[in-house]
Amino acid sequence: MRFVKFFIDSVKEVIKGSPLYYAWMAFLLIIMAFAARSYIFQLDNGLIVTNMRDQVSWGLYIANFTFMVGVAAAAVLLVIPAYIYHFQAIKEIVILGELLAFSAIVMCLGFITVDLGRPDRFWHIIPGLGILNFPISMLSWDVVVLNGYLILNTLIPIYLIYKGYVNEEPNKKLYLPFVLLSIPWAVSIHTVTAFLYNPLPARPFWNAAILAPRFLASAFCSGPALIILIFQIIRKVSNTKVQDVALFKIAEIMAYAMFFNLFLFGAELFKEYYSGTVHLAPMEYLMQGLHGHNALVPWIWTAIFLNVTAFILFILLRNVRSVKIMNIGCVLIITGVWIEKGMGFIVPGFIPDTLGEIYEYMPSSTEVMVSLGVLALGFFVYTMFAKVAIAVNNGTLKYQKD
């Protein structure tokens, strides 16, 4: 009964808001509407309206998916200091981080859905109803871990917010095991996502054991970067207390993660260039161009420049506690990692293709529009959930007997 009231009150909370809130939600909805139009265009005509072809059979959608899995996994960088080390400043905001993980998974599933040529056959993948090729197919593992993580990051925040709403102390015995489970689970979603690409000897560019650690390292900088920026926005638009000390703590972890990310990328470069086998070709295509094809070269060098610059800025942060520098660094990291992990990772896996053909891929306008729509959906979901969480936290939304 109380839960029903919680639900109704939450809906009420989501419906009302400031003009700024309405403007933001309307903006997202309009993007989603235009994206829906593009998506229907894609359903109508087939995936031919994308620029993917047999040679490059995955593109922007899967690139964004990979990036977002990283963002989802990165919530663990708030969960560990909050629940294991009881770092108070982070504990106050950990729910907002878990909700971000939830929204990131929503985006992941969105990107997978728009990439599927036959979304009408989605039920084929549901065990019992259809056939899930588990444990043989790595994609089936991804289905399992992503949905598991989605459930964990739905249940935990909802339980905690609800307890805040009815003004009761959350039962540690009830939720802590799930929180603890979510830590290795976060690592597993990104590991399994790396294992999608990693075990395909057909694609030498992906077929590197270093991939899973590389994914985790880059996720642990890009995810928190997004978190830092979003938290500052929340701090601005609501009277939620987000302490600088929490942000700088996160930034500190990011500096280490970026170091490992650059190091692992360097290790990969060394191995490929020094051994110089035929498997160097995709790396050559990415870094310097191959047989006159060099569409990705400016992208990857931009990414390297951004990542290195951000790393230097984050080292400076140790001495200069400047929010401004931190924010610049965050923007650089999000852009840099998105390129490195998205276009700079998925696409060269296919170039040259398995028979040596080079087909250069750049996303079509449909792909860009649909992708923006999925992002808008994610932010829309996040804003709604965060609004409820903040209202409960502030005490403006609480249980009242009729």
């Binding site: 087939g46 047999d54 040529g117 056959r121 084929h124 056939i131 899930l132 090729n133 043989i136 057909a202």
Partner: protein, 305 residues
């Protein structure tokens, strides 16, 4: 009070702007779109081919024949001929003989009802190499020649290698693709969800995707079809060479073998010690593509010796 009024005014303005924008965005939905129009409930609920009972298969084949008749105005035969006992198909290709004429490519297109446009699909890809080593990166996929064979060049046709340890089969998250008892790697086009993971996994480009609704001139349709083979496909599904399953399971040669003007293509039963492919494997110098990947293809290349 005044402030509240102002907010509600702004709110109304936003809602209005939003409604107008949303209506503009969704206007094309009002028109019937093919995604909705083409929806076929029987297709939607159809089970995976391997999980159907013989009766269900029978009913489904009849249903497809009726459906194709309505769609193309032609009588189709859709078979589900099972594999023969003690047969494992294998293929051998004589590189010394191949002249790069691509007759196999087009015989395959016709036999297997491959999409002609807007997206052209070929199961066989003939690659041209300058005399020298087989360096894939230096191959030409789209060569045009006045006359073949050309001096100073040789040709390597590549299609699905029907691996015994097929990476594509392992990759599929819904078991829409598998190896049949006679060694043919097939796809259930009605079960494929089009994630394209198999295409990423295949080292031989053995899989093609219907990026758009396949277009075939009605008069060129081959109406003698197999469920797992050359029956008409739909948009957004993966397809591949099936050693012409509709032919080979009836003891006939695949179209590419039959058309080859120089007899470079050999096909037969690997389990039969007296078959031509077995003799070639045992007496010629053979090689397989990308042996280092341990995919164990049943497609062998050889030279005269």
């Amino acid at each position: 009070m005044k402030k509240d009024k102002k907010i509600s005014f702004i709110r109304r303005k936003f809602l209005k702007t939003f409604t107008v924008a949303a209506a503009a965005a969704f206007a094309p939905l009002a028109k019937a779109n093919s995604a909705v129009k083409d929806f076929d409930f029987d297709d939607f609920v159809q089970k995976n081919f391997k999980e159907m009972t013989p009766q269900e298969v029978e009913r489904m084949l009849k249903r497809l024949e009726k459906k194709y008749k309505e769609k193309y105005g032609k009588d189709f035969i859709v078979k589900a001929t099972p594999p023969m006992e003690n047969v494992e198909f294998g293929y051998a290709l004589n590189l010394s003989k191949c002249i790069g004429c691509r007759r196999c490519v087009y015989a395959c297109v016709k036999e297997n009802n491959l999409s002609r446009k807007p997206h052209q699909i070929h199961y066989i890809r003939v690659m041209r190499f300058k005399n020298g080593p087989i360096d894939l990166e230096k191959s030409e996929h789209y060569y045009e020649a006045e006359q073949v064979p050309e001096k100073g060049y040789f040709y390597v046709p590549i299609q699905c290698q029907h691996c015994r340890k097929a990476p594509c089969v392992k990759a599929c998250p819904v078991r829409a693709t598998w190896t049949e008892k006679d060694g043919i790697v097939v796809v259930d086009y009605n079960w494929c969800i089009a994630c394209r993971y198999c295409m990423a996994a295949c080292p031989y480009k053995g899989r093609n995707f219907n990026w758009a609704e396949p277009q075939i001139p009605v008069e060129e349709l081959n109406t003698n079809t197999h469920y797992l083979g050359n029956r008409p496909r739909m948009k957004n599904v993966v397809e591949k060479c099936t050693f012409c399953i509709q032919r080979s399971r009836e003891g006939r040669y695949p179209a590419c073998v039959e058309i080859c003007p120089v007899g470079a293509r050999k096909f037969g039963n690997l389990l039969d010690p007296n078959s031509e492919v077995r003799r070639i494997i045992e007496t010629k110098r053979i090689f397989r593509l990308k042996e280092d990947l341990n995919t164990d293809p049943k497609f062998f290349y050889f030279f005269h010796s």
